[in-house]
């Protein structure tokens, strides 16, 4: 035999294989095992097909006797092609060699199935991941918010200058105290701080620390507008929006770590760091929630309900083309028309309720 290939020999009518060597010689298929040689099979008597569950092997059947030989080695196909002129064999070799050659690449239908499955999984993950992280946030104790907020505040204090002007600090605390009087006393321990910066913005850290930029305090026309801003930020804390956004940025793994109670200092440190470096602007739903909850708090506390709306509308009318740091608030607090409309609707409802 010129060259031989490893194969399995199945006697007629059985499914039990014997290990054999398969070769070609003089128009005959020669099969041998450790026990000796089998009767040579004329190539004119054989038929071929691809076998195995991935169609990755050659099945040779003796049409006359019913004996079968299976072989993995696709070089056998080339050898068969060289050793026979039988057109039916050439056709069969052509048919199965394509199937054999694509091994171990998957069949086209499997790739389609894989892509569809992966696409579906990605969509499900995309849709479901927000819900999952929100569910985790809901299960975290309030002490976790406080821990993250404290760590973040310590870090922010290192880089930013806190405004120590008695007047501003007193003003913000006075307004804050009035608003907090109408909150659930079991809520968070709030603190109000003024950041010395030319940005017009305000930010709520998880756990109750609220930072208001000194420039914002100068831009508000009156206490009602400032109370509107504070009510909005307090609502971000009570609804845990900042924590949720941080968890969303941190991903599922960190969220689960937080839930599992893995070293709160370490997890908190990571989340607090993320708070500093990541773009944690709120989403539209969170802004609307904070707007509406803030308005309710304002009304309960005796402030006009439209303080925040008036302030933001005034800022929005500024020249957007100018490099105006007064617009910084919109980078973390987007103000789409729907949000303004929702706030107006709520204010109308409050007015109507008052008239009754």
């Amino acid at each position: 035999m010129a060259s031989s290939f490893t194969g399995r020999y199945y006697p007629p009518g059985t499914g039990k294989a014997q290990s054999v060597r398969v070769g070609l010689e003089g128009g005959m298929l020669k099969v041998s095992s450790d026990n000796g040689e089998f009767e040579p099979i004329p190539l004119s008597d054989i038929e071929l097909r691809a076998g195995g569950f991935q169609k990755d092997r050659i099945i040779i059947r003796n049409k006359v006797t019913g004996e079968t030989i299976a072989c993995h080695d696709k070089r056998l196909l080339a050898a068969l092609k060289q050793n026979t002129d039988a057109s039916h064999l050439h056709n069969e070799i052509g048919k199965i060699s394509k199937g054999i050659s694509i091994y171990p690449v998957l069949h086209f239908s499997s790739w389609i199935f894989a892509l569809v499955s992966l696409g579906t999984a990605a969509i499900l993950l995309y849709v479901g991941i927000d819900g999952l992280i929100d569910a985790i946030a809901d299960r975290l104790p309030k002490s976790f918010d406080k821990k993250v907020g404290e760590i973040a505040f310590t870090e922010i204090s290192k880089d930013e200058r806190l405004d120590q002007q008695k007047k501003d600090v007193q003003r913000i605390n006075k307004l804050g105290k009035k608003l907090l009087a109408n909150l659930d006393p079991e809520s968070y321990e709030f603190e109000f701080h003024v950041l010395e910066t030319t940005d017009v913005n305000a930010f709520a850290l998880p756990g109750g620390k609220i930072l208001v930029c000194s420039e914002l305090m100068r831009q508000v026309k009156n206490d009602n507008e400032l109370a509107g801003v504070l009510g909005h930020e307090i609502s971000h804390v009570t609804r845990r929006h900042t924590l949720r956004q941080t968890l969303h940025k941190a991903g599922v793994t960190a969220s689960v770590e937080a839930l599992m109670g893995n070293d709160p200092n370490l997890v908190g440190q990571r989340l607090a760091h993320l708070l500093e470096i990541a773009d944690l602007s709120y989403n539209r739903k969170q802004e609307e929630e904070a707007d509406l909850t803030g308005v309710e708090l304002l009304v309960k506390s005796g402030f006009p309900a439209d303080g925040l709306l008036r302030f933001l509308e005034r800022l929005e009318k500024l020249d957007l083309s100018s490099n105006n740091r007064m617009l910084a608030i919109f980078s973390t607090h987007p103000m789409p028309k729907e949000r303004i409309d929702a706030m107006r609707e709520r204010l109308e409802a409050i007015k109507k309720a008052k008239k009754k």
Binding site: A17, S19, F53, Q54, K55
Partner: protein, 226 residues
Amino acid sequence: MYFDVIYPGNSAMLVVKLAEGESFKAEMGAMVSRSQSVQISGQIDGGILRSARRSMFGAEGFFFQNITANGAAGEIRLAPPELGDIKLLDMREGVDYFVQAGAFLAAFGDVQIDTKLQPLAQGFFSGEGVFALHCTGVGAVAVSSFGALAEIEIPDGEIHIVDNGHLVAWSGDLNYSIVKAARSWWHSITTGEGLACSFTGPGTVWIQSRNPSSFFKWMKKVVARK
């Protein structure tokens, strides 16, 4: 090395006698008893990637146990967790077997174990996962069953249909596809019942007389009643 199945039937056990320095690999946690000289260590068979792939998709442990007789000859006994039989599959050059996830117990000699991707639709719906353990090389592979273990020879071109939950192992030359036993594909997929593997010969299939998930469902009913 000597290995054999003792107590064949419903409580089969595998006994392996090792000369000093001889070793083999087995499924994690399968040891029943061992001589002092027999040492067990974790083994990443075929490298981390291959093991991770096997672990993720083939449902076998990330590591196999590497069992070696150190310093003296020794003996070890192994058993699968479920009640059932053990079969030794003879591995020769060119012969390959696919083993259902969870049925692998041990491998002797120069046997490589890898995962092989099944056609995806079959993998998902067959209940056997996307990958099956693919055993090649020279030696023997021990597989375990839930209940009795039967061998079915399928001659070339003949078709034999096996319920997925009863599948243990099959020879590599068999072609197979998933067929519905229920009246529609939708019914089969949604109920999880009525899916079966249709094997086309030549080759041999080893089946188990009990279906683990059906048994578990039955157990749940019995426990719920009490």
